[in-house]
Symmetry: C2
Subunit: 189 residues, 2 copies
DNA sequence: AACAATACGGAGGTACCCTCCGGTTGGCAA
DNA sequence: TTGCCAACCGGAGGGTACCTCCGTATTGTT
């Protein structure tokens, strides 16, 4: 789903349409959530529906393309946090970042889901990227002994996913929910 | 959404159709998830689509009717656990029960969402029922000092919702995820 | 038996999904 | 420049689903 086919570069018109679609899709997903109408996206891009489907055979493919950049930023944030924060704080901040982000850009939730799902082969690059980031940030916590040893990278992503879904309708409680997740239900001793 | 209109009982044919619809809906939601086709439900019930919409003006109304019974059972479970288990174990078990249940009967997730959303006036009875159950089970934990004082009933429901969504594709990890939520990320000391 | 009141059903208008293929366009070679 | 063909476009078309509306049928009551 990149702008080159690996071999020859795309034809000029193809590239133009690809980019218009991407721009409109970004807008539409933001506006109507992850199940915005694909036909409207094509319409707004001034392009036939067939063209949309040629470039992005599936809704998920389109979402991936739209959010790839943001995914990279989230991954980058993990590396940044791994260097600048204490391990456990870093994890908390990262989960929060993912959750908050995916509330704004609602399409991300589906991608997160697909990323979490091991059987999705469409998303290998996104998957690897985020999973590696999760590994990195988790590795330090494990080394420092501040994370349970049985905590895996994908669990981190699942928690982020859970948090983003759960706080969808009550953004103001996001941090509180996260604190429950992180610190447990018992009173601090 | 009950089988009587508050005043006179429903006409015989109306009641018959109502029940057929309910039965087919239960089946369909189980089979295809919460967004099963309403037209197919009507078809399988041998009833016109108009009849479905008359009885259940909205998809959520139909789901509510289908799951009301199960909601009652979940609420009952809360009371049962409140009497038979230590407070914190009870909470864990209850959240788990909700999450496991909603994975099986996938429509419940939407209801859980609507229940959590305070602005849904369609669901007052369900909402009250579950929320009261959550209150009860939580009250004991608070009294016993085993739950953080800032933990509210709706947070419990949100956690259950989060858990059910997060473990959708990996049921085997449900308990592990729950343990992260409950016990936090730090190693046990 | 006749008459309201109540309930039925499905046609119809709209929207969306996705596929398929005749027509168009861009870029390269002559 | 011209011409050619692979690459690309667009949208019609067939299918499904949503929801509304209203002429028709059924119920139960007098």
């Amino acid at each position: 789903m990149s702008t080159t086919t690996g071999q020859r570069p795309m034809r000029a018109d193809a590239r133009r349409n690809y980019e218009r679609l991407l721009a409109e899709a970004k807008e539409s997903f933001l506006e109507h959530g992850a199940d915005a109408s694909l036909e409207e996206i094509a319409r707004r891009a001034g392009v036939g529906i067939g063209t949309l489907y040629r470039h992005f055979p599936t809704r998920l493919a389109l979402q991936e393309a739209v959010y790839r950049e943001e995914m990279e930023q989230l991954a980058a944030k993990a590396y940044e946090l791994a260097e600048t924060s204490p391990p456990d704080e870093g994890i908390a901040a990262w989960i929060l970042a993912i959750a908050e982000y995916s509330r704004t850009k609602r399409g991300l939730v589906q991608i997160l889901k697909a990323t979490i799902d091991l059987h999705s082969d469409q998303f290998i690059s996104c998957h690897d990227q985020i999973e590696t980031a999760a590994e990195t940030i988790l590795a330090r916590a494990h080394a420092a002994g501040t994370a349970r040893p049985d905590l895996r990278p994908c669990d981190l992503l699942r928690l982020a996913h859970a948090l983003s879904v759960a706080s969808e309708r009550a953004p103001e409680d996001t941090e509180l929910l996260l604190s429950f997740m992180l610190d447990g239900l018992r009173p601090r001793s």
